[in-house]
Symmetry: C2
Subunit: 224 residues, 2 copies
DNA sequence: TAGATTGTTAATCGATTAACAATC
DNA sequence: TAGATTGTTAATCGATTAACAATC
């Protein structure tokens, strides 16, 4: 049994990852009082092909007007809806280190549908204090509160070695989705949604491409 | 002209994004004194197919031994080399807010080949102070220092509206690669490497999948 | 040797792109 | 109307997966 399920039908993942970019761009455009936007415009601004933009937008169910383009307000609304940003999702954050604190402090999350309602840490120094108005609770209370408050999202910002046990604990308690920042692959039941934001992953891509570029540039210089 | 270049030949991007996961796993394994590792083992731990693991590893140039698998030390070395982690890449960070500070404080970056050598901010309150031993300099010195120190990587953690001008400034000054955390698409010359780590992008995927799952679960419950 | 595991070559699958008719 | 732009259907492309021979 090697086959692994990719996505539960629905929207292709690459499309899903482009949608936030569309929203960011369109919000900027909205403030200029524009009423319509064409796939060409979006494609140009985001370095995409216009046909790809149209395909992506089609998935949200919106229908454009020939010659005019897409109704800007309606488009933003349907993109936000597709990403479920019009519902505020409650989340617990576990691990109040530097990164955890930064995330707690990122107020803009609420406009993206995320509401961090409490944070947890093992360190007695931290417990009881507040970060940005969010109280830090002891990890011993984590499972109980997940059950009682029916929280769906867990944000894991603990060190790599603690991530797996924490994941198991919160899944057991009823968490449906994990946003994982620890540099480790979490093994959980396959109906649990895991979204990894691993800085080291991004960084690897960057350093590899940079090395390739520098090498190429130096060869080109050498050939001159 | 709609076509956009994807990657400069070389390693497929999906493969590139899996490599750090292999390294993280293998390092853990290394501490158990294992000498060899099979593609099956890796696949099982990371929920991948073993053939995919073998394809990925092949790209690093490593050759496995039938029946035994891959030499663990050698594999880690060649993966690190492929990601250019064996060279330390100097970087400047611009925008010392919560996220910027968190990144500066993330000491582990050095093991991933990144060396943040200075940070920049506009806020006179911050300039002159230190975060984790890194001095915060005024943005006015940014371009000059990039030129003088021949720094290749710029990490952008400024607010969305400042990101584009900063990107232009540092590219002009000679930056070759940008790690962008601002929720905006940067328009730069196409030979500049841009790696986006946009939290809102990950978050969108998460909230969408969660909504789909909850909907599905409730339908299933309803049908019982 | 027998059996596990690699690595190559071919098939499949899914996303992107192209072509073009429909429409405002 | 003419022309720009959408949306559908088909072609292409690249990554994943399957099949299987080679090898230790």
């Amino acid at each position: 049994m090697e086959k692994v399920e990719k996505h539960l039908g629905g929207i292709p993942e690459p499309t899903l990852r482009r949608l936030p970019k569309y929203i960011d761009l369109l919000k900027g455009l909205q403030s200029t009082n524009a009423k319509y936007v064409s796939s060409n415009y979006i494609a140009d601004k985001l370095n995409l092909a216009s046909i790809q933009v149209r395909k992506d937008l089609a998935i949200t169910g919106i229908i454009g007007k020939a010659k005019l383009g897409f109704d800007l307000d309606e488009l933003i609304r349907s993109l936000n809806h597709t990403l479920n940003r019009d519902n505020l999702n409650d989340a617990f954050l576990i691990g109040v280190g530097r990164l955890g604190s930064a995330l707690i402090g990122y107020r803009a999350f609420s406009t993206y549908g995320l509401n961090i309602v409490a944070a947890f840490d093992n360190d007695p120094e931290k417990v009881g204090k507040q970060v940005n108005g969010i109280e830090i609770l002891p990890v011993t209370k984590l499972a109980g509160l997940i059950k009682r408050m029916k929280v769906n999202i867990g944000i894991i910002t603990v060190p790599a070695e603690s991530a797996q046990p924490i994941a198991e604990e919160i899944v057991e308690a009823g968490i449906n989705a994990i946003w994982n920042f620890a540099p480790i692959h979490l093994k959980v039941a396959k109906d649990v949604i895991v979204e990894n934001t691993q800085l080291t992953q991004s960084l690897g891509v960057l350093t590899h491409k940079l090395a390739a570029k520098l090498k190429k540039d130096s060869i080109m210089t050498f050939n001159k």
